[in-house]
Amino acid sequence: MGHTITEKILARAAGLPSVRAGDEIMAKPDFVLAYDFPGYTDVYFKQMKEEFGIDKVAEPERYGIFIDHMVPVATPKEEELHEGTRKWCAENGVELFERRGIGHQVAAEVGFATPGAFVVHFDGHISQLGTYGTLGIGMRRNVLEAFVREKVSIKVPETVRVNLTGSLRPGVMARDVFHHIVRVLGPASCRFQVMELGGDGLEGLTTEGIQSITCLAMFTGALTAIVNPDQKRLDYALPRARKKLEPVSSDPDATYAAVHEIDLSELEPIVVVPPTPANTRNLSEYAGLEVQTGYLGSCASGRLEDIEIAAKILEGRRVKTGFSLHVIPTSQEIMAEAARRGYISTLVEAGAFVSSPSCDYCFGRIATMTENQRAVSTGTLNVKGRMGSPDSEIYLCNAAAVAASAIEGRIADPRKYL
């Protein structure tokens, strides 16, 4: 009986010949990642010293710290947090990635998405490294374990296999694929399990698009998502890889808790209606609903294909007067390329507000909504108060739908603009 890619990665990380779903093991993460955030990294750094008497992490090359929230800062206190982070990284010899973009994306760009590696973070959106055959798990506060000892305790998760077939129709994007998975499989369909994506349909999706899907895995209850990396993904990840590891893949006779088939050609653009990521509807049902603001960005979306389609839709058109469209490329690398290709000037000329990468739009720290306002957003989450007042609303959708809605000031079907 074969093994899943997850079992293979965890067996190696645990130094065991093999492990099976359900085994409780101690595994050594190849990389330990975190962004600085009050109550998380500042607390870990303090606890390491004061509670565990650890002055320095043992293998600094295993760690990576990101400054992507509170960028730019708005208060001296926020700058104080970043100062503490810079100091800790310097003292520990740990590489700091500041203002390079949203950490989960930058992590892939700088080689933490090493195929076959086991990566931990406190934030679950690190699951997107699964695009490259990397097992990225968000441990919430338990990631402290990875700061004070070599190994972390983990129960080897079962795997749910999701096979994608067919190809997406125009105006339908990878975001819609994820939301559709939640719709048909349910918000608890992969609880405590790994969502493994496969099938011929993957070939028609871009690497960026797969990252949109794997990023959001937590809203199916999954611990993470992963893909058996094909040549396209390996060609991107291997030259950047920070560690020499043999890429692994699931065996054909691996055991899955469930296997599902999703036909991509059946999908339409989707909106996720507040207040939960489980409220998935066809966008056409909500077309015409008045919206005041739009956000195109986040660790889930905001990559080149998202910016490209928005530019295509907005070229020669205008954002409706009174509507605030924020376009925030996910990383500096992406932003520079979008500028080279002319997408940024198209968007600016159409009336969009374009800013350098930051996580801050996604959780309402800036571009904050007041009560009774509504947003269309490619952010990660639509719970109450996520982008401002608890009495504002977030409709999650793909980048094309955000751009189309910006033209009309109402939720709009992007297909008529393509």
Binding site: Q47, N142, A188, M218
Partner: protein, 169 residues
């Protein structure tokens, strides 16, 4: 050291699946740090008299995928401050589960619990026996065993004491 059994009344049943725990204090209050202030707000939209009725050792019961969404820590801090000793649910969302286990707050995944209890029933979670007893109705149902590391973390009283007690890993 063994994990202490939970014994108390069912102080409230959240019937819905995918329950977002932030609702317990209300999203607009989620950034409040002061635990007395949070406790005064907790559950008021479900039962205005909750804080008067609840007793130390009482438990909360939930549905499937309890803790779905983007769970924050303040709601459960508030409930613990009011005396709630643990949560039993049909099943849990992993992010919520990890967060609360790391706080040393007992969580018990017990399929069938929603139908097996009524509000204010006296129940017992017997960890070694692996069952939840409804002492009021004289019935019992099994729960899903805790992972070894989760049990150790609860016994230790949370993540920090757990890591200190098991320094070698």
């Amino acid at each position: 050291m063994a994990l202490q059994n939970l014994k108390g009344r069912v102080a409230f049943i959240f019937e819905e699946d995918d329950f977002d725990v932030d609702q317990i204090v209300g999203v607009k209050n989620i950034k409040i740090q002061d635990v007395d202030e949070l406790a005064a707000l907790a559950m008021t939209s479900y039962d205005p008299d909750f804080s008067k009725e609840v007793r130390k050792g009482d438990v909360i019961v939930g549905g499937r995928n309890f803790g779905y969404g983007h769970p924050h820590y303040p709601p459960m801090k508030a409930l613990r401050h009011l005396g709630i000793a643990g949560v039993l649910a049909e099943s849990f969302s992993p992010g919520y589960w990890r967060g609360e286990i790391s706080m040393g707050f007992p969580q018990c995944s017990c399929p069938g619990i929603r139908a097996a209890v009524k509000r204010w029933d006296e129940i017992e979670v017997d960890w070694p026996a692996g069952v939840v007893r409804n002492l009021t109705q004289g019935t019992e149902i099994p729960f899903e065993p805790l992972a070894h590391s989760d049990a150790l973390m609860l016994e230790a009283g949370g993540l920090l004491p757990y890591l200190k007690m098991n320094p070698a890993g």
